[in-house]
């Protein structure tokens, strides 16, 4: 049984979501995560994952190259700061446009194949972008040093607005500087808008067609539907989301480096989406937040913290445990991430959202059980 959604249910979900995001600083405080740098990351990676889910979650096409669009968004935004203005709106606008165009080209070619070939094609394109960013494109990307702002950038639209004493001006929204909490609230609002749009897309005829692509392309073709433009549109939309996320990174911290485009970074967004729940609306945001939160906590833990934690145990046990645990924390956080990745795919391919659904069904719902019965005995 697939529970039908209604506009009302969706509206409730959306409002709860918006409130939850905007009040993050309050309710993350007891969890030790209430500072703008971290919460910004929630919003930015949440947006990235929401967009990625439009492609992977709805159509089933697994791209391993979305970090490239993120990188393109970042570079474009920084260039916009350098050349045009420290105002963030043009930066975001151009970041979305270039990444969208980039996605259009890569998607047009990659979508001629499906399944693992599609994954490898996107991977190949992302690697090409990454390698080029490090080599011949250095005039644009500044290679290993990365693209940064400089005091004497032209900034033709607001050249007069240089800081007294000659520093680099801060990124701003018509004068409101995007540092600290304003930076977070801006990203949060963008995430909420992005989430709303993703929700509309999912519930639209277009979204239904994307689900049909995932389910049975053959039937789609014989039903009179051309699958190619549907998948391409989904690819471009998710590329734009990635570009938007990339330009938001530049908004809060105006520099861009090629390492953002590495294919392992694409792997991270896949993990976020899976961890939360592929194909669900809330899942990707949740997955992004969980990963960024634990990354923050785990990488901050060092041996003395561990010793304090296991301190009540006899010394030899304590030392042993600390040795093992220290593999997983601090710089070893990636190990935890890898383990998490495997555990999720093996035991919970549906992600946190599915886990929650299962628990809820087990404890609260008799109705679901009785309606599930004819389903099983149907054949």
């Amino acid at each position: 049984m697939i529970a039908p959604t209604t506009p009302r249910k969706d509206m409730v979900m959306f409002i709860v979501f918006a409130i939850a995001i905007l009040t993050l600083p309050i309710w993350m405080a007891p969890l030790g995560g209430s500072y703008p740098d971290l919460l910004q990351k929630f919003a930015i990676f949440g947006l990235f994952a929401v967009g990625f889910n439009i492609l992977f979650g709805l159509t089933g096409y697994l791209s391993f190259g979305h970090a490239a669009f993120l990188g393109v968004g970042s570079y474009t935004a920084v260039w916009s700061f350098k050349l045009l203005s420290m105002n963030i709106l043009p930066a975001i606008f151009f970041g979305m446009i270039t990444s969208g165009l980039f996605a259009l080209i890569i998607g047009y070619v990659s979508l001629r194949r499906s399944g693992i070939y599609f994954s490898i094609l996107t991977l190949a394109f992302a690697q090409m972008s990454y390698n080029l960013a490090y080599s011949v494109l250095t005039p644009i990307t500044y290679g290993e040093t990365g693209l940064q702002l400089a005091q004497y950038d032209p900034r033709i639209l607001d050249a007069q607005a240089t800081v007294e004493g000659g520093g680099i001006p801060l990124t701003n929204l018509f004068g409101l500087e995007m540092q600290g909490w304003p930076g977070f609230y801006f990203c949060a609002v963008v995430l909420i808008i992005g989430f709303y749009i993703a929700m509309r897309i999912t519930r639209s005829p277009f979204g239904m067609m994307l689900l049909a692509v995932k389910s049975n392309q053959n039937r789609m073709n014989y039903t009179g539907l051309n699958t190619r433009p549907y998948t391409l549109a989904a690819f471009v939309i998710s590329g734009i989301y990635a570009g938007l996320a990339g330009s938001l990174m530049a908004v809060t911290d105006p520099l861009a480096g090629a390492e953002r485009m590495q294919w392992t970074a694409s792997g991270e967004v896949v993990l976020m989406t899976i961890l939360g729940g592929v194909g669900t609306l809330l899942g990707p945001v949740l997955g992004a937040a969980i990963i960024k939160y634990f990354e923050n906590i785990f990488s901050a833990i060092n041996e003395s913290v561990l010793h304090a934690f296991f301190g009540f145990l006899p010394d030899f046990i304590e030392n042993g445990l600390v040795n093992v645990a220290s593999l997983f924390v601090g710089k070893g956080w990636h190990l935890t991430l890898g383990v998490l990745f495997m555990v999720m795919v093996i035991f919970l391919p549906g992600g946190v959202i599915e886990a929650y659904d299962r628990i809820r069904k087990r404890f609260f719902s008799k109705e679901t059980r009785s309606s599930a019965a004819p389903q099983a005995g149907d054949d």
């Binding site: 070619v109 094609l121 990636h334 990745f341 495997m342 093996i346």
Partner: protein
Amino acid sequence: MDAIFLQILNGLDKGGAYALIALGLTLIFGTLGVVNFAHGAVFMLGAFCAVTLNKILTLSQRIRDESVTFFEAYKEVPYLEVWFGETGSTLIEYSVPISILVAIPVMLLVGLAMERGLFRFFYNRTHAEQILVSFGLAIVIQEIVKAFYGANPIPQAPPEIFAGSANIGAMLGMSEAIVYPWWRLVYLVFAGIVIAAVFCFLQFTTFGMVVRAGMMDRETVGLLGINIERRFTIVFGLAAVVSGLAGVMYTPILPPDYHMGMDFLVLSFVVVVVGGMGSLGGAVAAGFLLGVLQSFAAMAEIKAIIPGIDQIIIYLVAVVILLVRPRGLMGRKGVMET
């Protein structure tokens, strides 16, 4: 002419590594239908077998340095040298080739463990899920290696007699300028031997026959009542040994670090695709071909015409192949063509 010959030589050793890794990858994909993103990590583990053995062989004792007379100085001398003198030093010098003997059983175990512990549960799941779980495994493996060996590359020396360069040009009566490091030559020969051994194994043993039949038509072979499961496990082990050995012998060419697996993984997937999914000959041919192409693209003359081509040539070839001939150079018609 000479320049071309030199570029071909330069490309071949890298091509050898690509070919060996891709061979393992194809073996797994062709027989088991599993897409293994952890295969690069296996290559890296092979390289670290060599590193580990070298570490063990050079375990040292602190002894008084007699040559310093002004004050009390100490130096580290490997136990092997203390105990066995010259023989000990020779053993240390040959640590890379000796690692082969160690790597074979170790990598076999790694392969078996991966298959029994993880991949057999994924035979019937989607390619996407296989990619994801093996990607996770690759991260785990490389992070563990990083925890033990640090993030910096660890150079390994080849034995003294292979240390210099061979003047191939003079030997073949061509320009004196054509010199080629001895160890790369060794690597090339080694790659050739391993590839030949794998092919002979598949061609001339009953086991190999079943595996080849399995690559052709998995279901039918299963129906014949042959215990295909157990053979698949062994194929996994074999694939791990092949790429592990590629890693061991590559250490004097490229100092191994924890993420070399990821770097080689993407490339070897590209190689597999270019060669044709499930075609062993294709994987080998494409490995060498792409290695050579890459070395040509790195020539100054070529780079002057198309800047940056050396960075993307392999991927570019893969994209073109996937678009115009999805089954790859030597893939069979109808195998994963969509």
